[in-house]
Amino acid sequence: MSDGLSRRSFLKLAATAGAAAAIPGCEPAARKIIPYVVPDENIIPGVPSYFATTCGECSAGCGIIAKVREGRVIKLEGNPADPISQGAICARGQAALQGVYNPDRLSKPKRRKADGSLEEIGWDEALKLFNDRLAAAAKAGKDRIAYIGAPQGPTLDRLTKLWAGAFGSSRVVFWERIGTEPARAAADACFGRRDLPIYQLDRADVIVSFGADFLETWGSPVEQTRQYADFRTPRMRRGGLSIGKAAYVSPRMGITGAKCDAWVPANPGTEGAVALAVLNVMAGAGSLRHAGTAASAIQAQLAAYDPESVSRKSGVPVSQIKQMADWLGQAESPLALPGGDDPQTYLAAYAINALTGSVGNAMVFLAGAPAETASRPQETSAVVQAIGAGQVDVVVIAAGANPIFTMPASWGAATAIGRAPFVVWFGDAPDDSAQAAQLLIPTHHHLESWRDSAPRAGIYGLGQPVMQPVFPSRVLHDILLESAHLGAGEAAQSITWENAQDAVNAAWQELQSKLGLDPMGAEFWNQMRRNGGSFERAKALNVAFNPDALKGATPARVESESALLLAAFPHPFLYDGRGANKPWLQEIPEPSNQIVWDSWAEIHPETAAQLGLQEHYKSTYLYAGIDVIEIATPSGTLELAVHITPLVKPGVIAAPIGQGHTSYGRYASGRGANLWAFLPAGSRAVPVRARKIERQYKLVTPLGKSDMMGRSIVEVMSVEQLANGIKPPIELEEEENTPKLPYEMYDAWQYTGHKWGMTIDVNACTGCSACVAACYAENNLPFGGKEEVDKGRVMSWIRIERFIPSADEAAAAPNLYIAPVLCQQCDHAPCEPVCPVFASHHTPEGLNAQIYNRCVGTRFCENNCPYKVRRFNWYPAEWPEPLNLQLNPDVTVRGPGVMEKCTFCIQRITNAEIDARTEGRQLVDGEIITACAQACPARAISFGDLNDANSAMVKRRIDNPGRTYTMLPEFNALPAITYLRSLYWEKGKA
């Protein structure tokens, strides 16, 4: 009887079932509201607090400001005090929020059982296990412990070294696959110093980039994007109005090539050879002004790099090599940017800059450069080999270094680490390397912990925790210190700090004294925490170029007359793969291809035809899928879906790095392929064989047509037209088609007081999509995943539109048309009068407002919107816990069935207006700034009051006569957004 269902428990069940049945309703229920039982005096509900800290997403180390509401960070913004970011921030930086709130973060220590599955264990048990293994390893002898982690800033890295030292191990590597070694090696050869130069693009008037995607991932994209926008701004040069001239040598165009005047398609790996050939020609032409007598010697050294042979190798026509040499030679201050992993590219570029006198101007070595952050590849591979050889008992993989994912196949990292007797993994979201670990320990995200960073001379970024940890994780270095104090005995006495915070604090006291301030003064520390660090202007050094450096120039590694070449490039958002678990970065289309949630193989139509590849369509001629190719590399074969595009060199297969995680959370795992595993060490190109396989795959893009069909969406004009005041044909056509005033049926509506508007400089916009990410973060935009995007349900309020010029346009157009498109806030908004319930209407301040509560979902407004910028909530938005903690409390989360759209960040406008009113003053221009404008590294977007003739936004229109246009004017919607035409040098004349 007893095992039967007792009456009591039956009633319980019935009750729960009843409750469950009662739950469903038409609209999602309101979320629970939990009041403060004991109010925190530092938190005023509804008032955000801001913390300055340092971005840990990449090695650029931008200063950022975290906006914190009710103890939760909800938005990251650039730190205006930081000379690198100057208040801007990139998409990856924004997405750090989805790293700290990632639903797949490790919440408890886990141990791997015999059967390979993981079991949760308590902290004490986990730490005991860790400490014991360390102690045992230390007893076993020297160097029995290996640490592989990403660089975490000088102090923490020093701490790590001390910790390892305490256990008698020197096997500590700070691993970055996209490293700086080639640059440092070349600097060593050319200038006898191993530090990195900084580049000042805005000081140059001609830029030739040899494989450096300086607008995407290379160097410090935020800074370079800003400088490049400045470089391309029309100003008087040599007695004429002109803009900087740029060329990009690379196997694929990307947005860097799109924004340059000339994209020079070269075989991957031959950028260096091309650079040397250019240098060779320049030496011959005598345009190496500062070479003096050495010019002939240099030419002799470069005999192997005559344009003809290089042209054969690289596929770059001799004419183009000569032209680049010519541009650089003619320029007042030319700048060659070296990229990729090939040291000779850097040699050549440094040589060009040095011998044309640009070193110290556009390219500068600063005094007091910080120590190298990442370890050299050979050190790292040595450690991996040691692990493989069984010389290591405990392997510590920490701080987001994902060796198994990023290390070259030739190193055999996976097998080596697999062989290690005990592997401990520290981090936030368990990645591919965590699968090899016996012990997984959750540590703080960089937004939750104390750090510092020294990206360049004079800049010491302070990273402070911006909020309480989201998960019950701990600080990596606290654990390490504790283990040292417990297990290392007197060897650990040298380590004086209790924890990482002390260490950082101490480091700053050192800095304090270095800056000649009283080490005990607390004011400095507080000031640093307010500023986000100490930003000094380091002085430039005069460095001498050693002409013999070029002797070291070795022929390009990748020889390729016949074979196909695979050119891997870091995905602008996913970078080396660390971004893949952040849904924003997956959902925002990659700017130059507009593909989401996937990796792909860019193939030129010619090559595609040779391989017999094509797109496939359903019976309705609707895109059904694309062929998949099998690519055979020396280190294994991979399969990739093809993306046929003219934006890549024929004979090259270009594929993005960053996808293909075997385990990195729900958003990352099982997408595309991991290119790192197929690339040799120190190169991003490899000769391959490819064949079509009988499988089709659907790459998803929100982009409809790549052809702008001559419509005035992204308008352009040549520098000549601007200089000579010639109107571009499209404008003449518009003037012809626009009826002459007065042609309105009603009198114009009067806007007294404010009228909000925007000016967007298409010339500056690089399509980096920082604005899109910022909008996702600020306005609680849901992400739908690949399937929803495929159904045309992208929710982004602002999108980057990119069009490929048709063949006949190509001569008189930039390489790509790129512009941000958001709600134009029209005076004659077509969406408004068609709404039956006034959900869409115009505010007295000229905003096109949308009342979510009033919307019944007829979707008429979007039908009538020429710009198609309104978004309908097709599906209930979901933010898996704890991603929902990031939501902005000032912005409603929209339910299914309602329309939504760009509001010009009305919550920011309202807040500013309320502040102004409470302080009894007028609004100041620049006080209100929309999320997109705030994030934009290129300063392309400016927001302001149209009724204020002195506002920067209005000035920008006035200051650029002849460049202003409104999108699709034939609809006479009178947008509040005015665009400034993009400028280009006419081909041939350029």
């Binding site: 009198d747 029209c826 005076d827 908004a829 969406c831 408004e832 009068p833 006034f838 869409s840 209407h841």
Partner: protein, 174 residues
């Protein structure tokens, strides 16, 4: 005085029926009721003439309804716009042209409805007791003419009706 009787005459077609009505008209007997299976214009006109009636007053119901509808629409459209005065697409708060369709539709709606109401009132519908002398075949294939008269006059009217072409004439108490 003699009691009232009703003469129920049946006709095969409307022409005969009309003749019957005219005969009664000639005899100044206007207390009659004609039954037809379909709206025979001849019969309707004849009886109207006999009774000296003009067109049916239903028209006035329709006219009034239509005017009311139009005015209601004017009031509602302009009134609500003034009540919640928002700018949509730069149009003035009260923009007449888009309201015209509403005015038209409501004019039709009110006119039609009040017309039908008028029809029911004037035709004394719904009727709960049967008319004197109604025969079910009046609804299908025969035409009826019922006249009330004094018993002593009955004979005279019966001959009148038979001369007009009545197939049969029955008497029944009124």
């Amino acid at each position: 005085m003699s009691a009232e009787v009703a003469l129920v005459s049946t006709f095969a077609n409307d022409e005969d029926c009309v003749r019957g009505i005219e005969a009664l008209h000639g005899a100044h007997a206007h207390d009659f009721r004609a039954f037809t299976p379909f709206p025979s214009e001849k019969v309707i006109e004849a009886s109207q003439e006999a009774r000296g009636q003009g067109h049916s007053p239903v028209r006035w119901f329709v006219l009034l309804g239509a005017i009311t509808g139009f005015l209601t629409a004017v009031a509602v459209t302009i009134g609500t716009s003034l009540e919640w005065n928002l700018n949509t697409g730069g149009r003035p708060v009260v923009s007449i042209p888009p309201y015209v369709p509403i005015m038209f539709e409501l004019m039709i709606l009110f006119g039609g409805v009040s017309g039908v109401i008028g029809f029911f009132l004037l035709s004394r519908l719904p009727a709960f007791e049967s008319e004197t002398g109604y025969r079910s075949h009046f609804g299908s294939d025969k035409f009826g003419l019922v006249v009330r008269c004094q018993e002593n006059e009955a004979q005279k009217f019966e001959t009148l009706l038979r001369d007009a072409g009545a197939e049969e004439v029955q008497r029944e108490a009124a």
